[in-house]
């Protein structure tokens, strides 16, 4: 592989990572819409689309391995490939979490807790993911550091939402075992949704952390 094509390959990896992130963001958006609209067709589309994301991930992983093996990149090139290699793993996991949202849509029956705004939480995570990928694209380290703070806000949001559910369950007077069984699944799904969106936030911080390392060789956000 000539050195010129090596530079082109680096550019190609960057573009492919950004494209993968766009598809993942679209799937997360679709998962949230499916939940809100109880749209099973949309949910199925998200679930069935996961294979496409997995293929993108595997292709990009192979591209990174090829460059490491054949070109022995160093310095900023090495950090770019190492960061991209980790970032695609986070993107693939986010896509898995979007798939979960699709599955919850298929199973959920009712909105038992209108005070828990899953959509608002979803918007927060989507904004964070978009900003993390913009930071990767433009090598914006200020944005990387700022994202870590926003994840704390998301964690607080998730904690408050979980509290609302638990408090409601304690205060709710359920008359029979049947009634408990009836709401058990919906409560469980809601708590899992909150947890999954909170995890999307964690993955976006990982992306920001790897981007910061890529640009400045700074690992302050990694651990």
């Amino acid at each position: 592989m000539a050195r010129k094509s090596y530079q082109e390959k680096l550019t190609e990896i960057r573009e492919d990572v950004l494209y993968m992130s766009e598809v993942v963001m679209e799937r997360l958006r679709m998962g949230l819409d499916a939940l809100e609209q109880k749209d099973e067709d949309l949910a199925r589309e998200v679930i069935e689309g996961d294979g496409e994301i997995n293929r993108m991930y595997l292709d990009l992983e192979q591209d990174c391995i090829d460059l490491l093996a054949l070109q022995q990149p160093v310095a900023s090139d090495l950090r770019f490939i190492a960061a991209s290699f980790k970032i695609i793993t986070d993107l693939e996991r986010i896509a898995d979490l979007a798939t979960n949202l699709g599955e919850y849509t298929m199973d959920a029956e009712r909105d038992l807790f209108p005070d828990v705004d899953v959509q608002e939480m979803g918007e927060l995570t989507l904004d964070m993911l978009e900003d993390a990928m913009m930071a990767y694209d433009t090598e914006d380290t200020d944005r990387c550091r700022e994202l870590a703070g926003r994840d704390d806000e998301l964690d607080e949001f998730a904690e408050r939402a979980s509290e609302i559910v638990v408090r409601d369950l304690i205060e709710r007077e359920l008359d029979s075992t049947d009634e408990v069984e009836r709401i058990l699944q919906d409560v469980s799904r809601l708590l899992l949704t909150i947890r999954d969106l909170e995890r999307v936030g964690d993955h976006t911080v990982n992306i920001a952390a790897r981007t910061l390392y890529m640009v400045e060789n700074d690992d302050e956000l990694i651990y």
Binding site: R3, Y6, Q7, Q72, P73, V74, A75, S76, D77, L78, R79, N217
Partner: protein
């Protein structure tokens, strides 16, 4: 014989003392000075070192402190002065008529360009291995013993020869053929024979000018393993065009760029993961040079 082919053991010794006043600024036997652990003690130090070939400046204001018993790699594009720097260390450039050296190059505190320093004695302390293996048309034993004999260190030569061959990771392969010609060995073995010849007089420093560039990958790998082992007892400075090799085997890396300028000198992992200077970054990532 060209300058490239000359080794420290090929020159006739005239004086065992580098400095005329032993105990003040003479040599110390750092290779025998005790434990073989890596230290950060500076063994070689250049200060404002300039080298000219006629009107052309080959090295420009080089400042560097090379630690003892570590491997220091010197990299840079062709014509950047890295081989010139290497040859300054044991005054091989004295053999080039047009070469002129200014500034200081201190070996264990003593400026090797002081008037009272004997370059031949210096080269006994600072051995050199070249790009192409260049054994003499003599037996393996005589190749290694040559440096010892010309120094008059001819007691127990056989043991010293075997020790040098063992340190050069060659003894096992040639133990039964010590009287065969060194020229009958493979390229990789010949290079290890030259390394054995360089270390037989027990120098403090071994300079290597692209020692594996003419070898196949297996022989290269053996030389690289050997360099790592040698650094337990000697200070090794290696010029290489192969940046991956520099990354693999060295503790410190010096990057020379066009104009004979030492642009960056740091721990090897720092150079190859996050160099300070953009020009170094551009060079090691292949964007120029």
């Amino acid at each position: 014989m060209t300058n490239e082919q000359m080794t420290s053991s090929e020159t006739e010794p005239t004086d065992d003392q580098l400095a005329p006043t032993p105990g003040t600024d003479g040599l110390t036997d750092t290779a025998d000075s005790g434990a073989d652990t890596t230290t950060d003690r500076t063994l070689l130090e250049a200060r404002n070192l300039d080298v000219y070939y006629g009107e052309e400046q080959a090295l420009s204001d080089v400042d560097i402190e090379i630690p003892e018993k570590q491997v220091t790699a010197v990299i840079g594009p062709s014509g950047c002065g890295k081989s010139t720097f290497l040859r300054c260390i044991n005054r091989m450039n004295d053999l080039v008529d047009s070469a002129r050296v200014e500034g200081e190059l201190r070996f264990d505190g003593k400026n090797v360009y002081d008037d009272d320093v004997d370059p031949v004695a210096l080269r006994r302390k600072i051995g050199m291995v070249f790009q192409s293996p260049n054994p003499f048309p003599k037996s393996i034993r005589d190749n290694v013993a040559y440096g010892l004999k010309v120094q008059g260190k001819d007691d127990d030569v056989d043991t010293k020869v075997r020790t040098a061959l063992e340190r050069a990771a060659l003894l096992e392969e040639v133990e039964d053929q010590l009287d065969s010609s060194g020229l009958d060995l493979s390229g990789g073995q010949q290079q290890r024979l030259c390394i054995a010849r360089a270390i037989a007089p027990d120098p403090d420093v071994i300079l290597m000018d692209e020692p594996a560039s003419a070898l196949d990958p297996v022989a290269t790998s053996k030389i690289e393993d050997l360099i790592e082992d040698l650094a337990e007892e000697y200070t090794v400075i290696i010029v290489t065009h192969n940046m991956q090799q520099a990354a693999r085997i060295s503790d410190k890396t010096a990057v020379f760029l066009t104009g004979g300028e030492l642009v960056e000198f740091d721990d090897t992992n720092k150079i190859f993961e996050n160099p300070e200077h953009e020009r170094v970054e551009d060079y090691i990532t292949g964007k120029f040079g």
